[in-house]
């Protein structure tokens, strides 16, 4: 054999050797051999899954560590209490939908697990919590496969019949739902971001849960609370959830939900209420949504107060017959972004405020009405119906609040610019005439 082939052979050997060296095949053996409560520090590289943890153990990556499944099952299955996974990339679960169970990157089947600093990708569900409690999930990122495959993949975190779990500081992108919760109570979900999913949060038959400081951005629907009671949503941000059926927050067939201090920005509908009762909507900001609040008359006995409505194309819309909701509480109403008189200077408008619109009938009749909400013609349509007294009362606030008006620097600067331009033009013309 000629020496000229030597460099090529060397490359093949190096590449081959490199590839072999990176895939570690004995991870399950190492787990089985580890003592109870031990910490298994994994060196950087790719480790072959799938693995099952049947004893309390900490599995911790030292640098860039990937556990890669064989696409037939769960990549990491936790069957013992007190397991911790830290600083790992997990990928390659089974994707089949005709198997006995829906597979996931990490399946937690025992109490008290801690999952921290994980990146989960290329899996059906990211994390599946099944009939357990007291799991802590912190700084986990789950990346799905995008809108085109939403139906063929699972959720970022799927919580089924599991309670007292805490999910914090995590990020979910392009999965079916960001966090899906069913029949699970007393969970706390704080400071997470859900984006480009179907529903950032999908929530069914679960009570006494709290969602705080989460960021639902650019989903088909921000958060959907269905068939659940006694929920607290506080300081969340629902923004850019746009589509013909999109919403920032949907509350459906639920009661005693407290929506407090949230921001609803630039959604198709900020808050969408349907078949629900006795929910409190307090101190939220509805800014530049197509519809601030859409309320179907199957929803009753809600209380809206201290909410701030600003620059929404339609501030509030009641679809259907007369509804029985209160737009004030204890003499405190909402901020309506409409000039009002306050001669007694008590911060409350002198006259009750009625927000009217004729669009509810149109929206009820045809869903394509949403296509025209941004049309300049809508203003004329509303004005014409107002003159023909065809508008309906959407919200009746007896104690409307007056926002403090601050002079915006941009507006003042703009007017100075206009005045200066006008003076310059007239001055130039006068000089020319001379």
């Amino acid at each position: 054999m000629s020496w000229k082939w030597a460099p090529l052979l060397l490359c093949v050997w190096l590449v081959g050797g490199y590839a072999d060296a990176q895939v570690v095949t004995d991870l399950q053996e190492r787990i089985d051999a580890a003592e109870i409560g031990a910490t298994l520090l994994l060196e950087p590289g790719v480790y072959e899954g799938n693995v099952i943890l049947t004893k309390p153990l900490t599995l911790k990556g030292k640098g860039d560590v990937t556990i890669r499944g064989d696409r037939t099952n769960n990549v990491v299955e936790i069957q013992s209490e007190g397991v911790q996974l830290e600083n790992l990339t997990i990928e390659g679960s089974g994707m089949s939908r005709s198997s006995q169970e829906e597979y996931s990157g990490v399946r937690v089947m025992a109490n008290g697990a801690l999952l921290k600093d994980l990146l989960i990708q290329d899996s059906f569900h990211g994390i599946f919590l099944n009939r357990i409690q007291d799991t802590e999930i912190d700084r986990v990122t789950v990346i799905g496969q995008g809108a085109g495959k939403l139906g063929n993949q699972g959720n970022g975190i799927h919580i089924a019949r599991s309670s007292h779990n805490i999910i914090t500081n995590s990020y979910f992108e392009k999965t079916r739902d960001g966090v899906y919760v069913e029949y699970s109570h007393n969970n706390v979900v704080t400071n997470n971001t859900m984006t480009k999913t179907r529903y950032g949060l999908h929530y069914m038959y679960s009570n006494y849960n709290e969602f705080k400081d989460n960021h639902f951005v650019g989903n088909v629907g921000g958060a959907a609370i269905m068939h659940s009671d006694h929920i607290l949503l506080e300081h969340n941000q629902f923004s850019f959830n746009q589509g013909s059926r999109s919403f920032g927050l949907l509350i459906q067939t639920s009661r005693d939900v407290h929506v407090l201090n949230n921001e609803f920005h630039l959604n198709q509908r900020g808050l969408y209420l349907e078949q629900s009762t006795s929910n409190t909507i307090e101190s939220n900001e509805f800014f530049q949504n197509e519809i601030g609040i859409e309320l179907w008359t199957s929803s009753t006995a809600h209380v809206f107060f201290k909410n701030k409505f600003q620059n929404n194309r339609i501030q509030a819309l009641t679809v259907g017959a007369e509804s029985n909701n209160e737009w004030f509480k204890n003499g405190v109403g909402n901020y309506w972004d409409t000039p009002m008189l306050d001669l007694d200077q008590d911060g409350i408008g002198d006259e009750p405020f009625q927000y009217t619109s004729a669009l509810s009938a149109l929206i009820e009749a045809n869903e394509l009405s949403y296509l025209f909400l941004s049309s300049p013609a809508i203003v004329i349509y509303e004005k014409m119906n107002e003159l023909l007294t065809a508008n309906k009362i959407m919200a009746d606030d007896r104690y409307p609040l007056l926002a403090e008006r601050k002079g915006s620097f941009a507006i003042i600067a703009g007017w100075i610019f206009v005045a200066a331009l006008a003076v310059f033009i007239f001055r130039t013309r006068a000089v020319r005439k001379q």
């Binding site: 650019g218 088909v220 746009q242 999109s246 149109l362 025209f372 013609a377 349509y381 610019f417």
Partner: protein, 267 residues
């Protein structure tokens, strides 16, 4: 051709209409940019672009119609068209060169304005180049259609008053009246006849441009739509944009050449 371009650029830049239009558009856009500072950062830039487009929906057709129609009308009023036509041009070639000159000059000047605004956008917001280029593309199509409409009106009208009236009527119809008609017919649109409705809806260039921009900027999702909406969006929006960008200018150019005798063109 160069002569037409040069002449058009001098006429437009020496007139007050163009600067007034650009000034008003810039001022209104600056307010929107300043307001967008308070948007959530994720898609705040895109939301601002859409707000600027919504504002343009009112103003840009008006300026575009007036500037282009008066440019053509002036050729008739000052008899320069007669001089050109008696020398070497046929009506068709005159119309073609004049159209190209108006399109190139007005589109360039308005694009220049938006590029100037981009400095403010960059200064105030997280600037996304691809989104901005998409916005500029929509503005080019916008101007292409309305400039050509203005050229047609300039050719077809015989007096200044007539032209002013026609411009305002056309502007009002396109911006307000057609959508009001859509709103009143909306209750009879069903799953069975929605394809017919779609064609009419998307042949209104303002609708197509907004829908294209909104979806392109990621502010409107075309996933998880209802069956009705899926049937409604029956074609790729890029193709619908291209159809509008070609169909309307071509039709209006054809109409302008047909209606030339309604004006004062004398071969």
């Amino acid at each position: 051709m160069i002569m037409y371009l040069w002449k058009e650029s001098l006429e437009q830049t020496r007139g007050k209409g163009l600067w007034l239009g650009i000034g008003v558009l810039m001022l209104a856009s600056l307010f929107l940019i300043a307001e967008a500072r308070f948007f959530p950062s994720d898609l705040g830039f895109e939301a601002m672009l859409l707000s600027v487009f919504d504002m343009n929906m009112y103003l840009l057709p008006l300026f575009s119609l007036f500037l282009s129609s008066f440019s053509v009308f002036q050729e008739k009023e000052l008899k320069t068209s007669m001089i050109l036509l008696t020398k070497r041009e046929s009506t068709l070639s005159f119309l073609w060169k004049k159209s190209v000159a108006i399109q190139v000059i007005l589109i360039s000047l308005f694009l220049g304005m938006y590029l100037l605004l981009a400095i403010f956008m960059k200064f105030f917001l997280a600037f996304h180049v691809v989104s901005f280029l998409r916005f500029l593309f929509v503005i080019v199509v916008f101007l292409l259609i309305f400039n050509q409409l203005g050229i047609f009106l300039g050719v077809a009208c015989n007096s200044k008053m007539q032209l002013v009236g026609a411009n305002i009527l056309v502007w009002f119809s396109i911006v307000f009246l057609f959508d009001l008609m859509f709103l009143y017919f909306l209750p009879i649109v069903t799953f069975d006849n929605i394809r017919f409705f779609s064609w009419i809806y998307f042949l209104d260039p303002i609708h197509t441009m907004r829908f294209y921009l909104e979806t392109g900027l990621g502010l409107f999702s075309l996933t998880h739509m209802s069956r009705m909406m899926e049937k409604f969006v029956f074609m790729d929006l890029g193709i619908l944009m291209a159809m509008n960008a070609i169909f309307w200018p071509a039709l209006l150019f054809g109409l302008a050449s047909l209606f030339r005798n309604g004006g004062m063109f004398d071969d």
